[in-house]
Amino acid sequence: MNHWHFILGAYGVTLLVVVVEVLAVRARRRAAARTAAASAPAPGARPGTSVRGA
């Protein structure tokens, strides 16, 4: 009564979803950095100010 396939299924899927989450977070952060770079305020803007909704 070892049922190693149940254990492998549990640990394998856990590892898979963790890897997917790590990759998704990394991709999201890279995309956010690209978007922020594209909408960066003009040089000389006051620190801490936002141009959005101004």
């Binding site: 009564m1 049922h3 254990i7 549990a10 950095a33 770079a37």
Partner: protein, 251 residues
């Protein structure tokens, strides 16, 4: 010298702190997981009733604990966002939801695979399993609600209300095995002690800390992405090395 904790409630102040903490928690999670798996598979004995399949406990219990705890933490940050209108609180609640949903999914999946050989079924509509499934739907509902609302501050408030209302499900999950006759077993670990064999308990607790560390690292990493998304027009974001690198300038 007193440290000004309120300063950290600003996204601009917390962003670098989160970046510095992530590697420590990520490395800590990896080391703890290695130790926990060694204890779980190399040291802990075979269970005399369940055989080897009980070893699913080393991921099932930590993920189930975290699924509930992360929800309470998410509701706490949501309440702060609702009560005080602090931007970072709303972002924190937003960052926690996907990791909480992931932990709930792992708890349900591993519980199902544990249930088949021990109870003879993958699923039963008993109180513990059903309330945990409702928790997954709550997480997914909060994520979907946020996606449906364009204004992030309005989304913060709406998600906070839903998450605070949903907190009522947490004691139901925890006490369901006491309040009703369930297929799911009662708690093996209590504040007063444990009915588990020492090395089994040690492996489970170490894996719990590994899951905890991983969750903190994942939430902080997602929080940094959310800060970049929501503060993208702020001047301080334009000065970040990763944003300058993405713009093609010197990193």
């Amino acid at each position: 010298m007193a440290f000004n904790w309120f300063k950290l409630s600003s996204p601009a102040s917390f962003y670098p702190v989160a970046g510095a903490l992530i590697p420590w928690f990520a490395i800590g999670a990896a080391i703890l997981a290695a130790i926990g798996l060694w204890l779980g598979f190399g040291v802990a004995p075979t269970d005399f009733q369940q055989g080897e399949v009980y070893r699913i406990i080393f991921i099932h219990v930590p993920s189930a604990w975290l699924s509930m705890f992360l929800y309470v933490v998410m509701a706490f940050w949501g309440a702060l966002a609702l009560g005080f209108g602090t931007r970072l609180s709303g972002m924190m609640a937003q960052a926690i939801a996907p990791t909480g949903a992931l932990m709930t999914f792992i708890a349900l999946w591993t519980g199902s695979l544990w249930g088949r050989p021990t109870w003879g079924t993958y699923w039963a509509w008993d109180a513990r399993m059903t309330s945990e499934l409702i928790l997954l739907f709550l997480y997914l509902g909060i994520i979907a609600l946020r996606q449906a609302i364009g204004d992030p501050r309005r989304a913060d408030r709406a998600c906070a209300v839903l998450s605070i209302v949903g907190v009522v499900n947490i004691p139901i999950i925890y006490f369901s095995v006491k309040w009703w006759n369930t297929l799911h077993q009662g708690a093996s670990v209590k504040l007063t002690g444990s009915s588990m064999e020492t090395t089994m308990l040690a492996g489970m607790l170490v894996m719990s800390f590994a899951f905890w560390f991983y969750s903190i690292a994942a939430v902080l990493a997602r929080l940094r992405a959310i800060v970049l998304e929501r503060e993208r027009d702020a001047a301080w974001v334009a000065g970040l090395p990763e944003v300058r690198a993405a713009a093609g300038g010197p990193g």
